[in-house]
Symmetry: C2
Subunit: 315 residues, 2 copies
């Protein structure tokens, strides 16, 4: 039983893209012994060299088609706008029966890009681990990234249950809990919990950067009063986020419209001095944070634990 | 010389209000020996009892007037809407030559509330430490809160230089660096670095909480993809933030207008698929975060160090 738990789930895993997510997968696959062989592929010669220097895999290819040869599991971890190109490149080299998955933040668009390119003899099970940091590239990954997080799978109708189970076990061994969802619902949920927050963060940092009356150095100096929190999301990978905006447009525009409507009402309450309305909102939002902490989705330490990290001896 | 550095700066300090800021001051004053006597005052009998149980001071009064008797330094740490009431209450009991300061997030409004109430024989030097967490109350404070942070003073024209120097030394011994600014400029700077971020955070958490198509439990579950960052600011003290909105109205409305204008442009770029515009903004904002980290105003650890705190053994 103990042996079955720790036996590799796959003979050969090909990781197409070796950024934050791809390189975290490489690390956890090795640590947890989830595959006998890890193949790493990325278009950039420089990044591939770095992945090799970090010893993330067993073989390295710039050519994605070569990388997927004989692989039982192929994980595509590239900006969502590149999904179609990757699918086209690997289609002819995929092993029959292989599971092909991705980690993209939008699912409708990825499916419509990849599905038509892939042969019928593979199992395409799109996925999205709800985990990340603001850093990117092969150096940014770490094996614990997926621990305690959710991973959403959006298998197409008629997908092999065995393939879904196999991919579920994989994510569970990475430390995640798997949820199955339809792609449209995924894109709506992610628009509010992830895409809107990033867009708002990028926007406010842009607004502050453009002011004339307040200098850039003042914005930096006094950022600990709230602003700095937004700069973390606004430091995320620009290519990835450009693609998310372009590929989940409708759901994002819907959430932006609601946000702006609510902001206008709040602005009106400030203009007219409606303290009760402000107090009501500011109290209600507090409860949401409590629920997030109770659900284990954030740490129960003030200020995200910054003071603990900055002053480890004193606490 | 070493003795002069560590000698108490004040004989008797009165802390009016003993929440996050007041109780952090109590702790650092004691740790650094900044005063021989610490007097604690708050209107709420329950909070006062808690402050006493925490051993935050040497004497405790519900009545602010009694608390300030004989004090060389009076620090008012209450929601900014209560500043005028506190000034009126203590005016008749202040010791001639005493320094009266506050820690409020708005300065124009606090000055117009307090200045007319205070007698000419005290030195009124408004202040604002740029530090805090999302927690409130006497239990939430800690002595390191002000370390490496800025404290802004907005002394009125003709203020005693000696009093300003004395208060500056006090904040320096608390670990902060002091900056002098005029109140109007302070209110504009804080509107962008602190007030707008809080309002936006409250707003987005409210928007997410109101959706029908996405359940509250989904928002909670998948919050690690960005949303949870906003819930920290949106968990801040509702009374404090209601008062900030009501008392820095004009500067906040100005910043909200700029933010909304920029957001409309961003929305338009998303609608029309203008990837270059999105990429340009998302790249520019990344540099702002780098500057904040270089200025020591945030920690250089991904995800605010959450993973370090959550997985201390593995990192």
């Amino acid at each position: 039983m103990a042996e079955a738990m720790t036996a590799p789930l796959f003979e050969k895993v090909a990781l197409i893209g070796i950024g934050l997510i791809g390189s975290s997968l490489a690390r956890v696959i090795r640590r947890e012994n989830l595959a006998n062989e890890i193949i790493v592929s990325t278009r950039s010669a420089e990044t591939l060299k770095r992945a090799e220097a970090l010893d993330l895999g067993d073989a390295y290819f710039q050519d994605a088609a070569q990388a997927v040869e004989g692989a039982d599991l192929v994980v595509v971890s590239v900006p969502v706008g590149a999904s179609g190109t990757v699918a086209k490149a690997i289609a002819g080299s995929l092993k029959p029966g292989a599971i092909v998955t991705d980690v993209g933040s939008t699912k409708g668009s990825v499916i419509s890009q990849m599905q038509p390119e892939l042969p019928d003899h593979v199992h395409f099970i799109p996925g999205h681990p709800i985990a990340g940091t603001e850093h990117s590239g092969p150096d940014a990954g770490f094996a614990e990234l997926f621990e305690g997080r959710w991973c959403i799978l959006t298998p197409p109708t008629g997908a092999s249950q065995e393939a879904v189970s196999s991919l579920t076990r994989f994510w569970e061994r990475c430390g995640s809990t798997v949820e199955v969802m339809d792609p449209e619902h995924h894109d709506m949920v992610l628009a509010i919990v992830s895409h809107l927050p990033h867009i708002i963060a990028y926007n406010i940092v842009g607004t502050a950067d453009d002011l004339e009356a307040v200098t850039k150095s003042e914005v930096i100096k006094y950022s600990a009063s709230g602003f700095r929190d937004f700069t973390r999301l606004a430091a995320s990978d620009p290519t990835m986020w450009r693609d998310v905006c372009l590929h989940n447009r409708d759901a994002i525009l819907e959430m932006l419209a609601r946000f702006s409507e609510d902001l206008s009402a709040l602005q009106r309450a400030i203009r007219w001095g409606d303290g009760d309305k402000l107090f009501e909102l500011f109290t209600r939002t507090r409860a949401v944070r409590r629920s997030i902490i109770e659900a284990g989705q954030d740490i129960d330490v003030p200020d995200f634990g910054r003071h603990v990290v900055a002053h480890p001896k004193k606490d």
